[in-house]
Amino acid sequence: MTLALQFHSDILAPAVINGLATASLYGVLALSLVLVYRINRSVAFVQGGMATVGGFLYWYLTKDPAVSQFATKGLPKVPALGLVVIVGAVLGALYGSVVSNRMASYPRVTVTTFGLGAALFVVGLTGTIWQGVFETGIPGPFTGRVRIGSQQVSYHQMFSLGVLLVVCAALTVVMKATRGGIYVRAIADDSEAAEIVGIRVSAVGTAVWAIAGGLGALAGALIVPLAVLYETALIFVLMRALAAAVLGGFESFALAVAGAAVFGIVESSVGGGVFGTVNAGVREIILVVALLAGVVVINRKRLVAAVGGE
């Protein structure tokens, strides 16, 4: 372990570019976590399952059956990506209608645990259907790469970053400027009061979950071209998305993206040797410390807000 950190500025620029690209991968997932948090103040671990669905489905739909031991479909990639998002949205809506109806009055921790169950179920399902999948080099919807400075950037990375920025902007606008956004805020503040003033809480909840589901599946599909696909791979990604969302204070979409960027850059700088050689374990500890600090800070803020609101 190198704890006496050195600084190599010459590899900082590539690390930044690389970090932004990495960040764009779990940024979308982080956005979906923030979205759910904004309506029901809980951490949507279920998004790990949504990402798994998205990743596996994208692989299943696009992989050429001729070179696969599984009966994959080999469909064109862009429509396949669209289909993945739709399936994710439908599953999200399904999940949302369960948690915002019968489980609406359950303690938050119980509902969160239900989400963990759903994620575990999905992981188990993929492990049952496609036993022993271990795929690398799954092509993204856009292939090829371009040189920016000294760094090779793939079209897939640029596409992911674009998706991230568009989704972030769209969610911000919807939440700030539309009636739906106002409903979501009202429900988050006091769902009973929202029900009384005529907001259909369960319908809005289901819709939000549908969007989150679509985003989760999209995130999963965007990640697999740059990762190894196996049964439990995407749960790791959830951890990073969570860190990004926490760093962003769980409230703002833009801050979550910034959190993902900071985190991605730190991660790739540390990993890329900007501070000397640091092993994966230390990187993980840095991740957890960042998470911990974020959690403590948010909690303090939230505590003040909650007590003051009484």
């Binding site: 969160t112 239900f114 963990l116 169950g117 994620a119 179920f121 188990g124 998470l291 403590v296």
Partner: protein, 366 residues
Amino acid sequence: MARIRQGARRYADVLPRGLPPWAYLVGAVVAVGWVRVASTTWVFLGAAACILAIACMGLTILVGWGGEVSLAQASLVGTSVYITGYALRADGLHWPFIPAAALGVVTVVVLSALISVPTARLSGMYVMVLTLGLQVTLERTLFTNARFAGGVESVYTGRPRFFGVGLDSDRAYYFLPFLVLVAVMVGLRLFRHSRHGRALFMVGRDRRAAAAMGISPLRYKLLAFMIAGVLAGVAGALTTPLYRSPPTSLAFISVQSLFYLAVPVTAGFGSLAGVVVVAFVFTMTPHALESVMRISPLLLGGAGLMLGTYAGPGGFGGVVLDRVRARREAGLLAAGEPGAAVAAPAGELDVRDEMTTSVGGGGGAR
């Protein structure tokens, strides 16, 4: 003789109410006897199920009693597996089993206690995030370290001997986790009905009320995490000799922590016996179905976790237990009809005449 009877009375409530003595005899015969007739594969799975049940009881205490959800249990079990293994191996510390196991347990308890410190003031959701953080950290540090997680090339020294009895065969080894499981269950029952068990339970239900009764929620959260740590550690230490060489770390990664959580949630937090049943079902079903279709145990875990939480906070087993208890209580409530003793402490408040109905018993059975 009188002393024995007195002692028996002192501990009588440890056993579940209403089971006849022959039920225990039958239970004991079945629990021990099936090992003689089943194939070694099943016996091996039985030992694994006992170990799973021990680890999951740690979550029953932490989640069900203490009210905190931990997503780190699998990594704690894994840590103990590898530390114990390292202490045991000839190319490691080459210690005897008991000190090696103790090292594993102590390491895990310390980790579990450490993660409980920042969680003491945080709400449940953040505790989940932080424990998941611990899980991932252990996965990426200890589990990727070849010295501990060893891979196929390192080999354990074999299974322990106790009082001259070797536990080398799978059939013999089964009894070690089985007896530890029984001891853990008895210990937890005793704990649950002690001052500290009640205090922990109250902290899990209502921190403020517990604090008002002189119970420090911080201390009891720490205690809950430590108990969960001890049981994860013991489960890990028992896992080590089950295998010939360090098992793959895939058995202890994040999703496995969800799987561990699924067991007590499915069983319902009111029942330790339920945890054992669910641990056996989850361990053995995929194997039993193997000839028909291969299913991932995670699928069962996921389904159990979803159904368990969907059934309500008490879990699946909670629904069943509720029925049983409600029947007994209906009897008690009926016996407590208004009548004899009526609290009429009216004093200067002139409402004595209104106080002729029952205060305690009569109404209210849901």
